[in-house]
Symmetry: C2
């Protein structure tokens, strides 16, 4: 069992909002994650929703800004909120671009120098973190779901679809639907995976859905006033789902933008969607 | 009518979360404030709850961290959230201490150099901001209440009690109950008001309550795991209210600390308390 270190613990909606740190073997460095444990976790294991955050975020942003704890407390759901990249490695250029390096892991396993030894967020999120959480926290290993925002929406669609048997349900807010056709994604995938774009496709949510749609219904919320629609391309997600027979409930929200005021408005609906799939 | 400039506008719970800037005559500099307008404000004037924030905060902290918009939307309440001090004045020492200068206006009218020309947060919050809001936003001038956190809890008790006829209800989270007997408060009041402690008492919530209790019931939430109890002194608030015949509902919350996870947990109860007093 990996040791985890408790960094902070605040009572919140009669449960606990915590930060943990542990040595990650996937990333070869210490990683932090946040957890919300609902009051039901005092009595026994609860199902968990994993939340993947967007560019520039740490494990704090969703914890502080979403107001999700209120719903998680009511529904009896744990929230597991990883960081978005390794940090503090002194890799040249790691802090120079918002879409590469620190805060921009893009949920891939890098194959290219200088990123490859550490930037393995796909393995971290889909395997190591799950093992750490299952071994140390009062969650039911057989009941988990996944969601996320923007780069983390891409991550949720990607990790959830490629491991559909492991997640009961998948949702996203404003996801980068096709990383290989977004400027942010192309910059990151090129650096992490090299110039052969064929290698990028296993990390492109639309391509993954086209090649192996999940049995799940995807729930996606997208604000119509989002200034980043050219990076997110919900139209490509619709096309890919239609072509693959992937069920998709895409909710276009009039006048909402890309930020956490948008996420906070609809996170309750997403958690209820996951709670239903998780028999919470 | 003072001109106000719209700085940001995000849709949130079918209403609007906005930031405004205006030239403040009380403070002699530009001031920013945040506003949440609930969906009901599209149809006509709504009652308003003023929120005063704590040390180091801007108008953003409560807006981002409290999750209050969800309740305000349901209850049909506007939220008015001022900054906690003037900013950017290049006053010597304004950025050196957390309890003095920027982010630490303490809701007083300073009389001492170099603060006196600008640090007039009592007048700003109790008069000028109210006039600006009433003139420019769809609120009902006859229906307003006040709340706040820590230094802003002190401010809410102070401004609300000294102007009890203008506010329908008063509440606070973790207030600095007696600024003249708190180290933070003594540092600030000494700098803003000078060494004569008699002059401090009109800005000490416990003293104001002792000399003229309001007809309101005060609602106060306080976490028992708050690390700043020696600065906040809820015991002095209880004593002052008992001595003055001031009604007080002091809710001591087991295991909660001083932060916004605590505020977020109970802000819904406070807004329902205010909504009842405001006939919202």
């Amino acid at each position: 069992m990996t040791d985890i270190e408790l960094i902070s613990d605040s009572r919140c909606f009669e449960g606990h909002q915590r930060t943990y740190r542990h040595e990650s073997s996937a990333c070869g460095c210490p990683m932090q994650f946040a957890v919300y444990l609902p009051p039901a976790a005092d009595k026994g294991p609860v199902p968990a929703v994993y939340w993947l955050s967007g560019l520039t975020c740490t494990e704090e942003n969703f914890s502080i800004k979403s107001g999700a704890q209120r719903y998680a407390a009511e529904l009896g759901l744990a929230l597991i909120i990883p960081d978005t990249s390794p940090r503090g490695l002194d890799i040249p250029g790691e802090n120079e671009q918002i879409d590469l390096g620190t805060g921009a892991g893009f949920y891939v396993n890098a194959t290219e120098a200088p990123w490859a030894p550490h930037y393995r967020m796909y393995d971290y999120v889909s395997k190591e973190l799950v093992d750490v959480v299952n071994a140390n926290l009062p969650v039911d290993p057989g009941r988990k779901s996944i969601s996320g925002h923007s780069m983390g929406g891409h991550g949720a669609l990607l990790v959830g679809t490629r491991n559909a048997e492991q997640y009961r349900s998948i949702s996203a807010f404003s996801p980068i639907s096709s990383a290989s056709r977004s400027e942010w994604g192309r910059n990151a995938l090129g650096a992490y995976l090299g110039p052969d774009e064929q290698a990028w496709l296993e990390y492109d949510a639309c391509e993954v859905i086209r090649s192996s749609p999940s049995g799940h219904q995807l729930l996606v919320d997208q604000g119509t006033a989002d200034p980043f629609l050219d990076q997110l391309r919900p139209d490509l997600l619709k096309e890919a789902c239609a072509a693959a027979g992937q069920r998709l409930d895409l909710r276009e929200r009039a006048g909402y933008d890309h930020g956490y005021y948008f996420v906070g408005t609809f996170i309750g609906e997403h958690l209820r969607f996951h709670a239903a799939a998780l028999d919470a």
